[in-house]
Every structure is written in structure tokens, then in C-alpha cells.
Point group: C2
């Protein structure tokens, strides 16, 4: 299954609905995966994303050092792997190997894409001013990929303590909103 390049101007539509994402980082031959729900769009284009990555997480150090990551958007099909990645630390295990996820080279950054995710957003850290106080990184999405065969992605939305809401029906309302 070949992913297609996805316009940066449309990235907000992938992140606005609040899906659980998997952030990948890599440094010195080691890569990691972190499950994350604390993110928001900050700007449409170039797409800026604010995300909170705790300094207790192994990914924090990798992201700070390399200033690069990939935001991967998983769906229901791999829900257990999403939770497994959230419950373990990259300081102890190789999550790609342990949970049978497939790393694929990104085009612009050193961190890998997760093949099993329907969308992948290659990011560079754009601002670290809020990292010391809130662990809040501002990321710029510099390249986006999407699986064109996935029309209604069953994204996961965390409700706390392992409870998730799965993306339901789509509705269309008359709107002037972007």
C-alpha cells in the first residue's frame, strides 16, 4: 500500500478532531514511539502543532536533541498496539520490534514513519520557548503522507484510563469555517 503526499494546507483536518497519535523520534540508531493525546493546531499554513511531551518520557530527550519527529495517526485496527506503546518506555524496549510495527524512512526527517498508521506528518521543532515550563513543543509539519484508500479512518480518542471513543459517523453542515 503506497501512501500519497498530502497537502500541508489540509493537515488541520487530520488533527483538529483530536485523534490519539503516535509520535516517533530517532537518534543515534535508536528510535522510539510515544502515544499522545495532548496536541492542538496552532496555525493553518505552514501547519504548526502544539504538543505536550512530558520530560518523564524517553521521547522528550530524543525530540529535544534532534528537533525532529513524525506524528503518526493510528486507527482502531491497531488500537492494542497504540495502548501498548503508551504503557511502555523506550528506555527499556524497542517498541517497533516488541509490538511488530514497521518503521519506514521519512523524506525530510530522521524519525521513521509508522507504516501501519493511515497518516504520517513529518515535523520539525519550530519553537521551544514553552518547553521548560509546560513541556509544550511547537512543531511545524513539513511533509504529510496519507493512505488514499482510507476514506473514513476509525481514529481513537482517549477518554482516560484506557477508555477510547472511536470515530463515528460523519455529518456535513453549511459552514463558512475553514
Amino acid at each position: 500500500m503506497a501512501k500519497r503526499s498530502f497537502p500541508l494546507s489540509k493537515v488541520y483536518g487530520l488533527l483538529e478532531p483530536g485523534p490519539v497519535v503516535m509520535v516517533t523520534t530517532a537518534s543515534g540508531g535508536r528510535s522510539n514511539i510515544m502515544t499522545m493525546s495532548w496536541h492542538t493546531m496552532i496555525e493553518f499554513e505552514p501547519p504548526l502543532v502544539g504538543c505536550v511531551i512530558s520530560n518523564r518520557n524517553y521521547s522528550f530527550g530524543l525530540l529535544k536533541a534532534t528537533k525532529e519527529c513524525v506524528i503518526n495517526i493510528p486507527t482502531m485496527e491497531i488500537a492494542e498496539k497504540v495502548v501498548d506503546c503508551g504503557n511502555t518506555s523506550g528506555a527499556k524496549i524497542d517498541k517497533f520490534e516488541t509490538f511488530c510495527l514497521t518503521p519506514k524512512p521519512a523524506s525530510q526527517v530522521g524519525a521513521p514513519l509508522i507504516e501501519e498508521c493511515y497518516a504520517n506528518l513529518e515535523c520539525r521543532v519550530a519553537d521551544t520557548k514553552m518547553v521548560a515550563e509546560y513541556c509544550l513543543f511547537v512543531l511545524e509539519v513539513i511533509k504529510a503522507w496519507i493512505d488514499p484508500t482510507v476514506k473514513t479512518p476509525r481514529t481513537l480518542h482517549h477518554l482516560g484510563k484506557g477508555n477510547f471513543m472511536v470515530a463515528g459517523e460523519k455529518i456535513k453542515l453549511k459552514s463558512k469555517m475553514k
Copy 2:
């Protein structure tokens, strides 16, 4: 229908899934409603929320002046009103009146609760350091209310241009995550 006080420690579970919210503000006898999808949790407790409110919005001035707002979480039942509030400006109309929404006094802040929303989070602005550059406010939730009769809220999740995903089924996975 009487809303119940909701523990601040559980607020993250309401915002993490990424629902469209309606932010209310009030100043000098005028109140306003703004539809918003750009928010993220920043800290569990006290609950801190980062949210982007453009300086082109009428609510930006009200929030900057009063440093208080309410994050109201609507559901499918009032989807059209949510979009209507997003498509109009409080500089020109009274949205409560125009769209038949009911303002109720909050307990801690001057901004009103929207009665028709199943959850209401009274907030104070905690940090404005990122406002000049990104219009990103850090809010602290100081009081939360929930309608105890709503067990599976059909929250709205914006996909762009008036397309919404409605919250679907719930699943529970074994997790150590908060």
C-alpha cells in the same frame, strides 16, 4: 436538568478526545460565544488547557480584558447552533439571543455557562506569554460542571469546512495510562 459539580482531576477526559467547544466570554454587559477546535490539555491538575483564539475574533478582546471564560462542550443535538456560532461575529450580533442559547451564571467567573451544553468548564487565564506570537492562551479550569444524565455524549469533532465526525462507540483497553 441540574448539572453536577465535576472533579477537576477528571477534566482531561472531557477535552482529550478533541471535541469542538464553545467558549463564552463576557465584559461590560456583553457576552459572546466562539466555536473552537484548537485546544489541548497541558497539565492534569490543576487542569491547564492551551487554546488558540485568533485576534481576529471578537472573543479575543473579551478574554484578554477579563482573563476569564467558560469552555462549554456541545453535542450533536445542537450541531447547527455550534456552526452558526462559528460563522458569525459577536461584534455584530448577540449570539445567545440570535441562536436561542441559554446563558446561566457561572460560579467563579463572569462569563456565562451555556445551559444546552452537557459540560461547562469555568476558566481563568493562567499565562499569556504565547498570546502575542501564537494567540495561544493557557487557561486554568477552576470549576467544572456536567450533566449527569448524559452517559455517552455525542460530541462533535471538526474535519474542516463544516464536516464533522460525531463521537462513535466506546472501547476499553487494558491500560496503565491516566
